[in-house]
Symmetry: D4
């Protein structure tokens, strides 16, 4: 992976819908060469997906929380997590808890109702997001900038 790949990854991290033609112009490389490089970055598994990011609050979901969860039934809880639309991310972690999950709900009342539904699996500690400083910083440092 060279500086051109880094540049491509950062452009696509900034705007995944950027046209090949614009990347071609920005990095001064022919369109077929850019296309080929993108294909290779996908093939190598460096790019795993392209995602539209949505605003929770614009979708009526005003409460975001991180929930630490301690359970004796890790597989059952992972299956529950998969099926729960409130849980956006689910990680197995070290420490006192087995899981960390990001939960998005409409209000603090619906968050409480969601937490009730988790009770059969174990105990939770809920950390409400008061504000987001930043999210989704690029993993690749752009050596041009």
């Amino acid at each position: 992976m060279d500086q051109i790949d880094s540049k491509i990854l950062n452009l696509m991290h900034e705007n995944a819908r950027i046209p090949i033609s614009e990347m071609s112009r920005l990095i001064a490389m022919s369109q077929p060469a850019v296309t080929e490089r993108v294909r290779k970055l996908e093939e190598q598994g460096i790019i795993t997906a392209y995602r539209a990011q949505l605003s929770p609050s614009k979708l009526g979901k005003n409460t975001t929380a991180f929930v630490l969860f301690k359970t004796g039934s890790c597989n059952d809880f992972a299956a529950f997590g998969e099926a729960s639309p409130e849980i956006i991310d689910l990680y197995r972690i070290s420490g006192e808890y087995n899981f960390l999950m990001k939960v998005v709900t409409e209000t603090t009342q619906t968050l409480a109702a969601f937490l009730d539904s988790c009770n059969v699996y174990g105990f939770s500690t809920t950390l409400i997001v008061l504000s987001t400083a930043f999210e989704d910083k690029s993993l690749v440092i752009d050596q041009h900038s």
Copy 2:
């Protein structure tokens, strides 16, 4: 927001680079109408960005951790976070700690070095990600499926 908007959001959450023509076919709506709807979803702030998602491990970053941070200098720490390439996400949270951050580093040794650099701001609790059950589930439930 109706079922067609939901469908569009899910298609673009699944693959942000999906061509308008393919969406047009999948939801049986003319291309100009699809383009117009996407433009409105962007304009309303429902779609906030399109991002290529990158594999940390393919980029040589094998350790992911969530770090809870307690500081008496919240503004200074937020500025430090902005400038630290290891910190991908940074949230202000309720509970015992002021901040939760997602940190991606090459090894557990580089994670330790990063944590040393945080020491001047306060105290941390580090939760290593042992495995990722899932990430980035769509905020929109697809009523067709």
Copy 3:
């Protein structure tokens, strides 16, 4: 809501039994106008109740505690709370515990007996009130003062 409403709310927060005539004099407004404003503040749900506040110690209740409670049966515990005269306030909260409650009992021994009665629902952490710095500060800042 204007400055006159703020003044009325603060007067009635200070002394809910204040006669309309006295408010009329204090804010230099006719009695029917004051009455009308109070009616509207009630109607809008800004004023939710008028309460006589009682001294626990004068009623023989010398121990006040806040109890954090962790339960797997939130609905059952809420019903228990409703029926328990010792529990004055009951909140669903974020963090490690589901509930925070204010408990008033005669002695530390009767507090212990009350906590025993909670044991079937889960685990508690009890914080004894050593002294009250202040309580029931007005939610409305009086712009005249």
Copy 4:
């Protein structure tokens, strides 16, 4: 204190603005006798205040939290608490923390800003109120009901 006093206290806890005439009718006692009893309950310090209760959300204050606070400067913090309009109640408590306070703010962002202003005094743990089961239950059990 007898059953009639209990009845009076509960009536005035339910509605502090209840007219003496209505209490007289409800407890079948002459108005001068009721007035005299109320006066004595005030004089003995059993009734400490009459308060209009206000709805935080109707006043634009949508976030209520209980904050546990650990400080090495208890007197300074108590003075700070007295001067902070966000802090409604402030208690000195046993346990790991010195203080428990009830905090009412407009949003989670203004709560975070308030918590920043506390940082010079020590460390906090913030418990967001997700919902209120009940508040201000009467300290007096009505033996008639």
Copy 5:
């Protein structure tokens, strides 16, 4: 209770077997008067017992620990405590745990065996005494000294 009572209490706290004759001499009061005062201090319940204090290590008990205990069966655990020779003191306490007990055993291995026997009642946190700064300071300040 006057200064002479304080003096008597401190003398008997220092050495419970002190002869009346020696106290008589030390506080310059007749023996019958001293005897009468001691009798009254016992009668009023100010003196609750006279105890020989024994050295745990000289009795082959080399490990002293304070154990915090969390149980859902407070009465059962109190009965267990009463019957356990290892538990010297047992207190019901506020905080996260129900009980604090002082435990004296021969070795850390026998302490572990004792803790195993508690397991059916709940969970414990064990604080080993590394050294004793002092014990049994008198509750009465001697105004003569």
Copy 6:
């Protein structure tokens, strides 16, 4: 140490002022022999003191607490403890805290004032004694009973 020594220790643990003549009768041994055995138990350091035990509440001290203390200045804190009449027992312990102390004060307010005076040395966690199940159980099991 034989069964007779055990019997003597338990009699003197029960009542340190028991006359030699009564012990002589109860264990069927001559008074000089009992006296000699007591002398040896003292000489060997098995008996370390005889203490009158006083009732805190009868002395106007209504609040008993165990305080866990974390300090970076252990020697300074031990000296402070020695000089503080509120601290009856002081132990150096394992775990998260350096010290455990038993504190006896008049009220919860004076306890709070005492805790303020500790603040310069570090941080405390206070466990209020709600009730005492038992105290000062004998270290010696009486094989006769």
Copy 7:
């Protein structure tokens, strides 16, 4: 144990396969005398074993963790520990947890699977080793150096 014994213990702690002839030369003592001293150190139980130490990472085991474990079935868990190849060391400890164990696994995923297998016995807190500062320092201070 004298300085020569200390020297022998340090030489064998450094390299347990050191030949007697080399020790003889290094400490200027005849080979039979060295052999006799080693025999005595073994006989007295001062030397308990000679162990080849293996590199976990060279054996494909890249994750080392210390796991604190809280169980109500200490004997069952100790037997489970004995039979689990992932657990290298197992200690009964004071504090909130019953056990501390050193666990070596291939990856963080296999660590998670191992932790799942512990779930039937109780709850764990996992501390991942980020780096090893040093291990197996000698218990004997070499007075020559």
Copy 8:
């Protein structure tokens, strides 16, 4: 690494001073071949050392503890650890604390003195080893047994 290597590693983990001749006999392979295999296991870094293991209690060190340590000066503390004979193992760890160390001292009093010497670097939580279930289990599963 094959089954013969595993067998050699286990034999030398069991007894690092085993003569080549005995290994030769036990695994039915010529002495030069065994010698060559041992040399390769050393060369590859699979065997990192041969150590005599010493009994702490036989060396007068009766207290073993694991100490969790939280510091803002990780490098300074690591240097302190290197120089402290009481610290046998020192690990950088994830979680709330930066370090875990194994500490061996003569008594609980000397442990307390050692902990005092750590105070300038930060805060500790001390877990006393009550008993050792097992230590130094082989990392290699012997497929013959």
